[in-house]
Amino acid sequence: MKHITTAITLTILAGLMLCPLAGLAKNVDLVTLPARDSVQLTIYNSEDLTLVKETRYVTFKKGVNKLQFSWANTLIDPTSVTFRPLEHKDDVELLDTVFPGQKPQHLIWNVQSKFEGQVKVEVTYFTSGLTWSMDYVAITDPDETKLHFRGYVRVFNNSGEEYENANVRLIVGTINLVEKIAELARRRGIPVPQPAAAPAVYEKLRREAAADGMARAEMPAEPSARPPVIVKEGLSEYFLFSVSGQETIPNGWSKRMQAVEARDVPFDIVYRMRAFQYGPRPVRFFIWRNDAEHKLGESPLPDGQVNLYRQLAPPAGGGDGSVDGLSFLARQQIRYVPIKAEIEINLGPDDLVVYETRRMGIERLNFHFQAVSGPPHEVVDGWDERTHWVDTIRNYRTKGIKFELRRQWDGDVDYDSEVATTLFDYRTTETTFDIDARSKRQYPATVTVHFGANATQQRVKLKENAR
């Protein structure tokens, strides 16, 4: 049977016949809001915020109707509750909303109606305790040329309320809140609900969940044969993921569903050496894009953890086909990836690619002197220091690699190298190499730094032939 228990709505009798007319004339017409007919949840990732939209059928009489709405043990923000009619819109008007002081978690709507009869209305409000998160699994082929990419969304329900047959939507993006919902709710005096912890309750819930599954099966709709489809669309600066169909998530439970899948995604491998950003060893990156060329590009990818694996090649002699193991490559949090933007996974240093840098010689030249009284009559107050650097990169992999080197320099620097070098910014030099499998490359450079009175700038200047 269908469960109608909802913690949110209390039922209070009309009281017409119980209270004397004189004293409580006001309460005579107070009607409780009936149970909800349908519910939609829109869950925001960045804040603990969910927009709940319910529809209910309310019977109005002509004139002013007082409707009471109450909630208990749930974190609803009272300042966010709205009411609007979906039918007979011209006949039904909300006059005002009263929040009675003595009754916390209650409100009363004064609604003026020209229509007598049943009207479908929509009630929306913000609640807290429902969150979602994203995680990804990427598996490359043994040659590390293509990967199989999947993204999963997981919804957590700690709101204190059971949500059955709810239509679920997830918002990707960072919104601005000025006060947290939980705070607003607590201000009106209720404690934060705890998820069901005791085993007896857990068992009860499992039974109910199963019963519910069966109940759904009893209903005319077909049971789901496939995972729900998640439709993605843009809304202002945010993306809306709508889970098709309806989900039931009991209080305290969470549910994980596949949201994104792409097969045979091509990707690039790049090595970057930037001591100032990544440390003393070159670091390996797998890079691809969230676009059609890379079998993606339907929607942005929300922040989430990526687990990256490589499929191991079957043994040379064939084998029984069950050696289809995985090798774990890296785990990384990625940040929000817009459509057509790059995705970069940092795999860390690679033992098979080695970078060394060596200072080969130092000279001092171009001295500037300042006159002083008494011996020695002149003192050095400016000079140049010229250093010869040689960097060596060794690639022990069975594939050629792309290697990018950036170095940052402080002070007034003149830079010269026979290898083509550019300036990434005013103090950073940049060079890229293609290094064949099992070979090495050398990169010599001459760097002259001006000190003391010789120093007039704070930047790197490339020698003419280097640009």
Binding site: N176, E237, A292, D425
Partner: protein, 417 residues
């Protein structure tokens, strides 16, 4: 209608002074109120005005003594005013008129002579002169505390974010200890409402609704305020999204200054429903000013700021100029075009790449500045805003997003350490 807060003292003690009954005792209790108005236009003081119809006897040997007492300590005793306004003639009321007295001077036909205040009581006694016996319409007004109001807004944007509907709500907080049934409530602007406001209740009502308000959606990049976006992108910074609404007629508003309050912004989701975009606290917005609502970050626009060159030129002695070229690389991954506002805080730039700037920097635009950049000086000369138009992300699935590269060539003049 019975009013809990007002104690009515009957003239019952008439009996105790039977011995002096020869003189007419004109002590009356203030009748119940006919009408109440609550004026909330002054943010610091709430004025309550009541209207009552008081039967007055003709002043012969003695005047009318009218007793007024209250149990509500939220009423400011020193602010109570008693104003005779009109006198009943037939079945209508006419204003109080001036009459000539025996000594030739003029005085109103109903006039307050004095007020006596008993000790330790919330009460007072008015001595009122009345030329004739009449029913007099009287206004009693006083300032009451703990009856305050705040404002809230709800904005609903259309899906394309071109226009929105702004609703302004007033929330009355009645902790004054008084019930007001059928009170006229006026906020100082907009319409007047007839409401029932009970004690300890909060009452929320719609004050004004502005439709088809054009939205100016802005994206702002401010390197020196927000710093690096994250360790993976150390040269990019946050892009903040704002809705700017101008309070004037051209933008379908311009009726009255908008009071401070929390604004919640929603958008139509295209399926008949709404999605929440964010909220912000609005400050007082006078007419013709712009309300800036911060909604959150836009992560579909990425802007990276690179200092391409940094050169110092000596002028004389230790007086120098500093020449800097800032390169911006911007990618717009949204499916709509956008204009990015980039704030350059030139005083901070000078401090970072030179040192002490001795106040606001003096600067000039250099020749390498990209022509596509438009300049705005809303924040003054030392913090120019660079505006760059960005095309939408290409609809073609295979097309790449073009990186828009612009340069700001700035010469900071006359600096010395």
């Amino acid at each position: 209608m019975r009013y809990r807060a007002f104690v009515i003292i009957l003239a019952a003690w008439l009996t105790s002074t039977a011995s002096v009954a020869s003189a007419r005792i004109k002590l009356a209790a203030l009748p119940e109120r006919e009408r109440v108005e609550i004026q909330l236009d002054n943010g610091n003081y709430t004025l309550v005005e009541e209207e009552r119809i008081v039967p007055l006897l003709k002043s012969g040997k003695a005047n009318n003594m009218i007793d007024f007492s209250w149990s509500n300590t939220a009423i400011d005793k020193d602010s109570i005013l008693f104003r005779p306004v009109a006198v009943r003639e037939g079945d209508k009321f006419r204003p109080v008129k001036m009459i000539k007295l025996a000594d030739g001077t003029e005085a109103p036909e109903v006039n307050v002579i004095n007020v006596a205040y008993p000790p330790n009581e919330n009460a007072l006694v008015w001595e009122v002169y009345s030329a004739e016996a009449c029913a007099c319409k009287v206004r009693v007004s006083y300032l009451i505390s703990n009856l305050t109001r705040t404002f809230e807004y709800r904005a609903l944007a259309d899906k394309k974010e071109k226009v929105l509907t702004l609703r302004k709500f007033m929330v009355l907080h009645n902790y004054s200890g008084e019930d007001f049934l059928g009170a006229g409530v006026w906020a100082g602007f907009g319409p007047k409402f007839l409401k029932e406001v009970n004690q300890l209740d909060d009452l929320k009502l719609l004050m004004a609704k502005f439709t088809e308000v054009p939205i100016d959606k802005t994206f702002t990049f401010d390197w020196y305020t927000h710093g690096a976006l994250n360790p993976d992108k150390p040269l990019a910074s946050k892009i903040l999204m704002h809705y700017r609404l101008t309070n004037d007629e051209k933008h379908k508003m311009g009726e009255f200054p908008l009071q401070p309050g929390k604004v919640r912004i929603f958008i139509e989701d295209g399926h008949g429903g709404e999605a929440f975009l964010g909220e912000d606290l609005a400050v007082l917005t006078p007419l013709d000013d712009t309300m800036k609502l911060y909604l959150g970050e836009s992560r579909d626009i990425v802007c990276t700021r690179i200092i391409e060159s940094n050169q110092r030129h000596a002028v004389r002695g230790n007086l120098c100029n500093q020449e800097i070229v800032i390169k911006y690389e911007i990618e717009n991954f949204k499916d709509a075009p956008a204009t990015l506002r980039m704030l350059e805080q030139l005083n901070r730039l000078g401090q970072q790449y030179f040192g002490n700037t001795h106040g606001d920097v003096e600067w000039e635009k250099g020749g390498k500045t990209s022509k596509e950049i438009r300049f705005d000086y809303e924040f003054g000369n030392a913090t120019p805003i660079l505006l760059v138009d960005l095309p939408a992300r290409p609809a073609d699935k295979d097309a790449k997003v073009e990186k828009v590269t612009v340069r700001f060539h700035v010469l900071l003049k006359n600096l010395w350490p």
